[in-house]
């Protein structure tokens, strides 16, 4: 069977999303590690780094990637170990709701700077 990304949903879309969000987060990690190794001077330096236009843009992408990645990963764990549909639906819903809330909170933290 031919399975293409833009075809019907075979689970390939989530698989691909997991890779793309993972790459974004890995690049962000390397970028931030380099920035921190270059030296950050106290809270003022930390605030200055995080409020820089490019860093804020990159942090925003990181937060969205993290929450999306966590959604797919945690949902897959529930699907593997939790069989009763009712409990699974509850866990899926709580996971999604928590992650949407975390995304809003984290974005507000960087965007108010």
């Amino acid at each position: 069977m031919d399975r293409i990304v833009v075809g019907a949903h075979y689970g390939l879309k989530d698989w691909l999303t997991q890779r793309i969000t993972g790459i974004v987060m890995a690049l962000y990690t390397l970028f931030m590690a380099a920035a921190l190794l270059a030296g950050v001077n106290g809270q003022e330096g930390w605030r200055a780094l995080m409020s820089h236009g490019f860093v804020r843009f990159f942090t925003f992408l990181f937060i969205i990637s993290l929450c999306w990645h966590a959604w797919i990963g945690v949902r897959d764990i529930w699907m593997d170990y939790v069989k009763p549909a009712g409990i699974r639906l509850t866990l899926h819903s709580l996971t999604a709701i928590a992650l949407i809330g975390y995304a809003g909170w984290a974005i507000q933290v960087i965007w108010r700077l």
């Binding site: 890779r19 993972g22 790459i23 890995a26 990690t29 809270q43 930390w46 605030r47 995080m50 966590a70 990963g73 945690v74 764990i77 996971t95 928590a98 975390y102 909170w105 984290a106 933290v109 960087i110 700077l113």
Partner: protein
């Protein structure tokens, strides 16, 4: 096709199954992922405090004084580093790099070695050892 349905042997005693190292690296990827997910509110709270007012920043720094907090953060540090290294390994396997048995075993050793070494180096810094 009922002739295809035949009883298969099931051997699911988790304590009797001996996983190869790559198997441990894989299950740790899952464990570290769920750990990071569960502790996400703590991590966002820390980010919030660190970027807020000077008083909040003092609160952020004081939070690190507790040894229990430090140990939890070292645990999360390992979780992040393992998840990162294993993620890179998975991406490489996806593009068919190191897919043979020997390379796959070696790369799982590399994942363990790099993540544990970095955890030791950065964790010692966090614990104030140097």
């Amino acid at each position: 096709m009922p002739e295809l349905i035949k009883p298969r042997p099931k051997f699911l005693n988790l304590f009797a199954i001996r996983l190869p190292l790559a198997g441990y690296a894989s299950i740790f990827h899952r464990v570290s992922g769920i750990g990071l997910f569960l502790m996400l509110p703590l991590l966002i709270w820390l980010l919030d405090k660190s970027l807020s007012t000077a008083e909040a920043y003092a609160q952020f720094k004081a939070f690190f004084d507790c040894i229990l907090v430090k140990l939890v953060l070292v645990g999360l540090l390992w979780a992040f580093l393992h998840h990162f290294c294993m993620g890179v390994r998975i991406l490489l396997l996806d593009i068919h790099v190191g897919i043979d048995k020997v390379s796959a075993h070696n790369s799982s050793i590399a994942v363990m070695a790099v993540s544990l070494t970095l955890t030791a180096v950065l964790g010692a810094k966090l614990l104030g050892i140097y």
